[in-house]
Structure formats: C-alpha cells, structure tokens
C-alpha cells in the first residue's frame, strides 16, 4: 500500500488545518497556499475551523456541486470569503489570537497586490478582487474602495454571520449564487456530469488559492524531485545496451579496464558465480573490485585495443575523476550541514550503541578491589588496585553500506556520496567497522566496488562514488550476503546492512527462466527474496530510500517497514538513527 507523501509546504498546511480542526484523522478536501507555494496559515486555519464548526464534507459537496460551471473558480473564491467571515466570528471567543492572524492575512493581500504586474492583474477575476479588497480593507482598517451598489450588496451578502448554524451557512451560499449569478447548482444538469478532460485541467491550472487534493498530489510529485531521479541513460548508453551478442572475453576486458581488477581470483570468482548466479540471475557474471586494491590492477594502465576503445576507456576514467571532484566540492560547500549531521549522528549512535557494547574493565583508584594487586598499595604506593568499567568498548557491531550506483542516481550523486560519508564517518567515530560498497550492472556483469573496507579508518574514498549503468539489486544483495558470511568473525557479531536505494531495479539481462526482462515486479520480487534471505541469516537489512513516489510501493515490497524516506539532507541524520534503532531492536 502506498502511503500518501506530502511536500513540506503541504504537510505544514495540513498541520495547520488539523490543529484548527482539533483532529488529526482529517483528510481535508482543501488546502490553502500563497502564490509562492508557502502554506497560507490563516486560510488553512479557516479550513480547519470549517471542519470544527460546519461539516467539511457537506461544504466540499456544495463546492463540488457547481464544479462544471464555467465560473466555478470565481464562485469558490466568493464563498470562501463568506465562510471566512462566519468562521472567524464563530471561533473568535475561543481563539482571540485569530484577530491578529486575520489582520496579517489582510496586510499580505495588499502587499501581494502591489507586486502584481498589469498582466497578472488582468488575469484576476475583478468581481472577486473587489470583494477581497473590500474585506481586507475593513480588516486592516484601510479606506474602503469605492463599490458599486451591486458590489456593496455582494459584500453585505458575503458577511456570513458567526451566529448562523450549518444549514443557514449552506443556504446563504446557495442564496448568494442565486441572487448574483442566477444560478442554482441543484437544478443545473451539469452537476450530474463529472468534470473531466480539458475543463478539469484548466480549472486546476487556474486555481489561485484553494487547491483540491488532486492538485496537491501533482505538486507533491514534482516537489520530490522525480524528474531529477528519472531513469535517463546518457553517457553510458552505448555500453549499457543489451550485451548478449558480445563476446564474454571482450566484456570482461572492458569491465577490467573500467573498474580495475577483481579482488577475487578467477577461481574464487568462478566459485562465487556458480553459487550466486542461479535462477533469475542465470547467465550473469560478477566482478568485485576495490579501487587501488585489485589483484590485477588495471586502473592507470594504458588499456589495450583500438584507438576508439582506448579513447572510450580514458573518457570514462576522466568522467569518474570529474565526478569525484564534484563530490568533494559538494562536501566542502555543505560542510556545515555535513559536520552537523556527523556530530548529531555520532552522538546519537554513541548513546544507542552503549546499550549494545560492554565497557572493558580498567584499573582505577576506586571500584572493585583486585586482591591479587592489593600488595601494591603498601609496597609500591600504587592506588590503582581497583577495576571499574572503562571507556574502551568491545565492538561487536559491523555495518555494511551498499550504494546503488546505477544511472538513475545520476542527478543525486553528490548527495549520495555525502550521505554515505556522513554515515560512515559517524560509525567510525564510534569505532564501529563499516564497509562501503557500490553496485551496478553492465554488460551482464554485476559489479561491486568496495569504496571503503571495514579496516580502513579513512572515509575519503567514499567520495569516489559515481553513477552509471543498470542495477540488478537481487544479485547485488545476494553477493553482499556472500561477502558478509565470508567475513563474519563470530556468530555473536551483529551485522547491519544499510542500502541507499531508489528501489527501482532493472537490468539488460533477462530476469527469469522464462526470459522476462529484469524490471518491474520480476526485479522487485527478486530483490525482496534476496532481502528475505539476508534476514534469515541474521543480517539486519534496511534501506534509506530517496527515489520517486512511484517507487514507494517497491521499497515497501522489498524491505517491508524497515526503510526511511529521506526528503532533505538536514533530516538525514535523524532518519538514519531512527532506522538503525528500529532495525536493531525489532528484528533482533
């Protein structure tokens, strides 16, 4: 089930509505925003109050009843002015601060009007504008604009009294439309017809202030940066095309030239492949490498082959270098946020890890007396004959960080590198060994690149992260399981595997015995099975998700509840610590 996700501004609008309504289970049909996209605190309060004092569903039904009318937008704005007056007067005794908020909203109205261009002014509905002007002039104590007799009557009719009940308010709304527009939604045949097609689109496009939830969803979708995360192969298009007709040897040479030699010998690789490249991954190959640590390190060496091939390899290497520089620059430009996140995550981890880790005993002046050392007091005047729990910790937790390095991450490379850096650095500061590995698939090879080994204290190499290729999540996860089991020192070790992912696996090599493409449900189920196997082995597995909303269902299917969605870098540290606590406690 996909949960609704809102942008920050929408979430804020919702919070204001809920607060005014006094309940948090409300799914409001309206939300109010300023033209700059910020939540309108006063009108959202009014929407919340509409739920508190009236029946918001009935109000919404009334608005929907004339949705097919060409002037529906204009009607909305008039009627909300009427409701505003009613709800303000009704709530005021309970919430005197509303006067201040209302006045502020009025001032904002005039401020915005001053900045509108002539063109924008002409796009406004003049009758609505006149009524708004009159309302906010009264509220802010300005001179009333000169109104025609009809406009004066309209303003009077829109001053819905706070003493009315729900029926009277709805009747006043109906009367207003009848009197000034000779329109009765009840008798309009168009109300029976749903608003669709161009008209619906036009209405959405032209809505100024009150936006229905469907618009919100559109706003939310784009606000999450979907275009930035869209899968769009670019510089590796050529090498990412289906590879089945290429000679395996040629492919292996290409992979070696691009990524460097494997850390496993040919025999070890063969063994791993025969173990892991089965079922859905039949025919796939593996390549496990570590920058600067391969057995037959090829990086830096002149690649052999035709001139165009050499140029291609050199070009790829140069691009990787450039991306590394971008990552470093991003880290430098955001050093305050990064340092803040490391500090926050480190201190939270420190508190939390203490519950898992035992203090090593150390000699002290006070504590439990060590009888065998007691003689030292008299003979050597050494008071350190006691033991107490020391600061040194017996580390039993190990963390693996797996980064999706496929092309779909192209627009988030710097951020992913920075996030991985923050996690790794925070864990290192708490003496927790952490290994950082990237994965991608290319020419049938699933390549795991170890950017940081658990034994390395420095996290600098994480900034070598770059995106390119496809992602066969299932095989990469199977491979991680294999590596973790190989490395596991004792059965008591706690192992956590954190994956930074967009939960959108796809690869050019087919994904099942029936030849279905490795994408969509096939790929997601394959990844989910790999996660299940990891968990069955006691490896706690969780995801940090920053993909598009359309992939939320995927991340849930693959990782269950053990994931967080990180919307901004600032919330990253909190999110990660919550996730780690959740995973370590719940699945423990």
């Amino acid at each position: 089930m996909i949960k609704k996700h809102y942008s920050k501004a929408s979430r804020r609008a919702l919070n204001i509505i809920w607060n005014a309504a006094g309940r948090y289970d409300l799914d409001p049909p309206f939300m109010a925003f300023h033209a700059n996209g910020q939540a309108d605190d006063y009108f959202n309060t009014i929407i919340g109050l509409a739920d508190k004092w009236l029946d918001l569903k009935e109000v919404a039904a009334f608005f929907a009843s004339y949705a097919a009318h060409p002037k529906a937008e204009e009607f909305d704005e008039f009627l909300w002015l009427g409701l505003e007056n009613h709800l303000y007067e009704r709530e005021l005794p309970e919430r005197p601060a509303l006067t201040g908020l209302r006045k502020k909203r009025g001032e904002q109205f005039f401020l915005v009007q001053q900045t509108l261009s002539e063109q924008q002014m002409t796009m406004q509905s003049m009758p609505v504008y006149r009524q708004q002007q009159a309302r906010w002039a009264i509220v802010t104590g300005r001179h009333l604009p000169l109104l025609s007799p009809k406009e004066e009557k309209m303003a009077e009719a829109l001053a819905f009294s706070g003493s009315w009940n729900k029926e009277e308010v709805l009747q006043a709304m109906r009367d207003f439309l009848k009197e000034f527009y000779h329109y009765d939604p009840v008798s309009d045949p168009r109300t029976q017809r749903p608003v669709t097609g161009f008209r619906a689109w036009y209405r959405k496009l032209n809505s100024h202030e009150y936006k229905q939830n469907d618009i919100l969803l559109i706003r939310t979708g784009s606000g999450l940066g979907d275009p930035a995360n869209a899968v769009a192969l670019s510089w590796e298009d050529r090498i990412a095309a289906p590879q089945t007709d290429r000679k395996q040897e040629e492919d292996a040479r290409y992979i070696r030239d691009v990524f460097g030699g494997s850390v496993l010998s040919d025999e070890e690789l063969h063994q791993a492949e025969s173990l892991l490249c089965t079922d859905n991954d039949k025919g796939c190959r593996l390549w496990i490498t570590a920058p600067g640590k391969g057995r037959s390190e090829a990086r830096g060496k002149e690649p052999a082959g035709s001139r165009s091939y050499r140029v291609e390899i050199e070009d790829t290497r140069r691009r990787r270098k450039t991306q590394e520089e971008h990552n470093r620059r991003y880290l430098k430009d955001n050093r305050r946020t990064v340092q803040g996140s490391i500090q926050r995550l480190s201190s939270e981890l420190d508190t939390w890890l203490s519950s898992f880790l035992k203090g090593m005993p150390e000699a002290a002046r006070a504590g439990a007396l060590l009888p065998q050392k007691a003689y030292r007091i008299d003979v050597l005047h050494d008071p350190f004959v006691f033991v107490r729990d020391g600061e040194e910790k017996d580390i039993r937790l190990r963390v693996d960080l797996l980064l999706d390095a496929s092309q779909s991450r192209m627009n988030s490379q710097e951020r992913i590198a920075a996030e991985a850096y923050v996690i790794a650095k925070s864990l290192e500061q708490n003496h927790v060994p952490v290994r950082v590995t990237t994965f991608r698939s290319l020419r049938g090879f699933t390549v795991l690149e170890k950017l940081k080994e658990a034994s390395d204290r420095s996290c600098d190499d994480i900034l070598r992260y770059y995106a390119g290729g496809w992602n066969r999540d299932g095989l990469a996860l199977k491979c991680m399981r294999y590596l973790i089991k190989e490395d596991k020192r004792s059965a008591e070790d706690l192992h956590l595997l954190l994956i930074l992912t967009d939960a959108s696996p796809n690869d050019t090599v087919a994904g099942s015995a029936f030849g279905k493409n490795y994408e969509g449900a096939v790929a997601v189920d394959d990844a989910a099975a790999a996660v299940k196997a990891l968990r069955a082995d006691g490896i706690r597995t969780a995801a940090v998700f920053h993909g598009s909303t359309s992939h939320l269902e995927n991340v849930y299917r693959i990782f269950g509840k053990e994931y967080i969605r990180v919307m901004s870098f600032r919330q990253f540290a909190d999110g990660v610590i919550d996730l780690m606590q959740k995973v370590m406690q719940e699945t423990g």
Binding site: W18, P96, T351, S355, R365, A366, G367, F386
Partner: protein, 307 residues
C-alpha cells in the same frame, strides 16, 4: 507553602490515606541531622486525586513505586511531593547508560590508610530510611539494575560483598520514573518491574493545568490562562500524532516562558526561547510556531497577561 497534608485535604484525598501518612510521619520522624535538608520542599504540587491516592496507598503498604508515562506528566513532581508528604529525605539518582552496581550501592576506595567502603546513594537511602527517586530508571542496563533486586523485594536488604549486609530501613521506599519514548531508553526487564507497583501517569488534564497555572501565576488573567492551556493541549495533540517530536511538549518550558513574560519579555520571544527552540529541527519549529501563532499573539506583553 502550606503543609502538603493541607493540600491533600483540599484535593479531597481519602481521609484514611491522610491519616495513614500522619501515622507514618509519627512512626518515622526526621529528627534533624545531616539529612534534614534532603526532605524536599516542592515549589508546586502534583494535581490529580486518583494518582495521589494510588501512590499514597502503594507507599503506605510498603511497596516501591514505578511512575511510567510520557513527557510532561509530572512524574518527578509527584516523586518529590511524595517524599515531602512522608517527610523523608530524598536521594535523586539520575540513571544513565554507564550506571553500574558500584555507582548505586557503593565502591571500594583507599582513604590513605586502608581500603574502605564509600557508600552509594541506594545504600545511604536504604540505611537512613529515605526515599530513593530512581530517575529514568530504564536508561541503565538491566544487568546493572540486578543489584537492586534484593533491596526492592521482600528481602529488603543489601549485601555488599566483602563488607556487611544491611537491612533496608522500614521507612525507606524507592520510586522509579520512566518514559518509554526517550532516546536511549529500553524496556525494564520483568524481574525488576515485578518489584514495583506500576502507576501509569496520565497526561495532565486541561482543568489541572489551568489550576497549576493559576497556582504558579496568581496574577495571570483568566482568559489568557485558558489560551495557554489550550496551546499546551494543541502541542500535545501534535506530538501524539507524531507530527512533531515531544521535545517541544515541555510543561517546564511553558512555565519558564510565563516566568519570562512576567519579567516583561514579549510572549513571542518567551515562547520561542522556552518552547519552540526545544526542538532542533527547523521544519518542526515552523509547525510549533504555527500552533503558537494561532493562539498567542507574538507581541502580547506581560501587562496584557498579568493583572
């Protein structure tokens, strides 16, 4: 401050319980000495008749009490009130992750001549018949707390290896407080929790909060007081619905803000300092500010609030 027993009578606490407390005081008088200054003198009292009655009954029956509840439910206020009510010296022991048995009971040390025992707060409390307030008891590791088992159960004794065994003074009681939600807390194990009578602390009601504010700030105008009560309720609701963390749900913070307003600071600034800034996330601060703005005008001055 009036005697707390007067307060209990005004709260309409069962007379039998009040008589029980009086009898306890008579049986175990504090006769002065070095621990006299440990008897708390609370600045304000816990409000809530039902909770008071349950707590008094448990302590009179010789039980230890565990106060469980979320933030801002008055756990520590009640613990202090209870020690004051029974007129016993109190030891406040703040639990933390590195807490161990020696920290609680005592430890060996060298006094220049010989190895001696330096008693810890639990030992002192048990010896002197005090009230031990085990604050945030679930912050410590369960294995560190195992040492309390014999102190808290029917054995009522502490056996210090290498030294003597002491019996827990009949007037001694232990009151634990715990909050499940705080970072770094964990569940109390069954062995320890079974040694306490567990009292679940309800959130303060609007009426009680109104009374509390009236008691603390007698000069505050009634109408404005109501707005602050509603403000607290609204933040509470927001925290309960997980829209914000409970950092900003801070009754102490609200009281502090009102104290600042009494000193002449505008409401907006005072609430910013004492409530909004309790949370460190910028977005969360915006949400809290929205709630405040919808209740309390930014520029509300002390003279508007206090008569």
């Amino acid at each position: 401050m009036t005697d707390i027993l007067e307060f209990l009578k005004n709260e309409k606490i069962s007379p039998d319980l009040i008589r029980g407390v009086e009898a306890f005081r008579k049986a175990y008088p504090v006769t002065g000495g070095e621990y006299q200054n440990r008897v708390p003198e609370p600045a304000y009292h816990y409000l809530g008749r039902e909770v008071w009655e349950k707590a008094l009954a448990a302590l009179l029956a010789g039980k230890n009490l565990l106060l469980c509840g979320p933030k801002a439910t008055g756990k520590n206020v009640l613990a202090d009130d209870l020690a004051a009510c029974f007129m016993r010296p109190a030891w406040n022991i703040s639990f933390h992750i590195n807490m161990d048995a020696s920290w609680l009971i005592g430890t060996d040390t060298y006094d220049g001549n010989k190895v001696t025992f330096r008693p810890g707060p639990v030992w002192l409390c048990a010896h002197e018949g005090g009230f031990g307030v085990l604050d945030e008891v679930n912050m410590a590791r369960n294995e560190a707390l195992a040492v309390l088992h014999s102190t808290l159960d029917h054995r009522r004794m502490i056996d210090v290896p290498g030294y003597d065994k002491i019996d827990v003074h009949p007037a001694a009681r232990f009151i634990g407080t715990m909050n499940y939600g705080y970072a770094g807390t964990r569940d109390l194990n069954e062995a320890l929790s079974s040694r306490f009578v567990i009292l679940s602390m309800p959130a303060i009601t609007d009426t009680d909060l109104d009374r509390l504010l009236a008691e603390r700030f007698p000069a505050m105008k009634d109408k404005i007081r109501g707005q602050f009560v509603k403000l607290f309720t609204e933040i509470d609701k927001k925290a309960q619905n997980a829209e914000v963390s409970d950092r900003a749900l801070d009754l102490r913070g609200l009281l502090d803000a009102l104290s600042l307003m009494e000193q002449g600071i505008a409401a907006g600034s005072a609430l910013e300092m004492c409530v909004v800034n309790k949370t460190f996330d910028a977005y969360e601060r915006t949400l809290i500010r929205d709630v405040i703005d919808a209740r309390i005008p930014q520029d509300l001055a002390g003279t508007d609030i206090f008569a």
